[in-house]
């Protein structure tokens, strides 16, 4: 069972590329029609150098290009079947555009038992930089483990 000793533990860094084809698949899946995401001219008119990613796609990129996206759960002794998503936060510092290559550096920042140990909340925070070394975003996800 995961405990306080996990706090501070880094996860393997992930490098992910914002590829237009799979981003289009994401938009098609969600019925996204906003031209700023789908049309280069609309993106440029909105002030972007290329089409941007939508607000939650950073979470996806880290999983898409992770060799073993659930590996850290196993390393922490957490069964994937016992996991729910509790909270998700994004802080945006600079645009992320099609063609960018991002590096995700994550670590466990908190482990807390809830409801008398019936659940454990694990927080993983991630800092994301692009190919120019610009810190583009930070994310935090809270994983709920049903004990």
């Amino acid at each position: 069972m995961v405990d306080q000793s996990a706090v501070g533990r880094p996860l393997a860094p992930v490098t992910a590329r914002v590829e237009p084809g799979r981003l289009r698949f994401f938009f098609d899946t969600l019925g996204e029609q906003n031209p700023v995401y789908r049309n280069d001219e609309a993106a440029r008119a909105a002030g972007y150098a290329a089409t941007p990613v939508p607000p939650t796609y950073l979470f996806c990129l880290e999983m898409l290009d992770n060799q073993n996206p659930f590996g850290f759960l196993a390393e922490l002794g957490i069964d994937l079947a016992r996991v729910l998503h509790g909270e998700q936060r994004f802080a945006y510092h600079a645009p992320v555009l099609v063609g960018d290559t991002l590096t995700f550096c994550s670590q466990v920042t908190s482990v807390a038992d809830k409801k008398g140990g019936a659940m454990t909340m694990v927080v993983v925070e991630t800092e994301i930089t692009n190919q120019h070394g610009v810190h583009v975003a930070g994310t935090a996800r809270t994983i709920v483990v049903r004990n």
Binding site: F25, L30, G31, V36, P55, T56, P69, A81, H85, Q88
Partner: protein, 136 residues
């Protein structure tokens, strides 16, 4: 949202409804998002884990909440976006995503608004509750 005037506290600035969540969409989202957790697409796995059926990825619902948000607010104006996953979103759920102005604030000279966001099902049960900070 109009960029020519400031919104007022209490004003609803985000509103969008979405079609019922199908198994097919969960399968597509599994591939599109890279979240291959079988609990969302494999009923045998979901049952073994104690659930009656597969259920939506929370991040699919958050993606739709984000879609509703950027229909109303230019993406580059969003400073932060966060949600709590309040309840499991089952198959067939028809989501309504809404955002109301909760507060007008200023940060380092930038005028901003804090939007209170929800994604609710067809019975009004809140599935996701969160907020976004946006530049005005």
């Amino acid at each position: 949202m109009s960029e020519t005037r400031s919104p007022v506290v209490g004003e609803r600035v985000v509103f969008k409804t979405f079609p019922p969540i199908t198994r097919h969409r969960l399968a597509l989202y599994c591939g599109a998002s890279g979240d291959h957790n079988p609990i969302h697409v494999d009923i045998d796995f979901a049952r073994a884990a104690g659930f009656p059926d597969v259920f939506s990825h929370g991040m699919l619902v958050m993606a739709w909440l984000g879609q509703a948000l950027t229909d109303a607010v230019p993406p580059q104006h969003i400073r932060s976006f966060s949600t709590r996953f309040a309840a499991i979103t089952q198959l067939g759920t028809q989501l309504t995503c809404e955002g109301h102005v909760a507060e007008l604030i200023e940060h380092k000279g930038e005028k901003r608004a804090r939007l209170a966001l929800t994604a609710s099902d067809q019975n009004g049960e809140v599935k996701l509750a969160g907020e976004a900070i946006i530049a005005l």
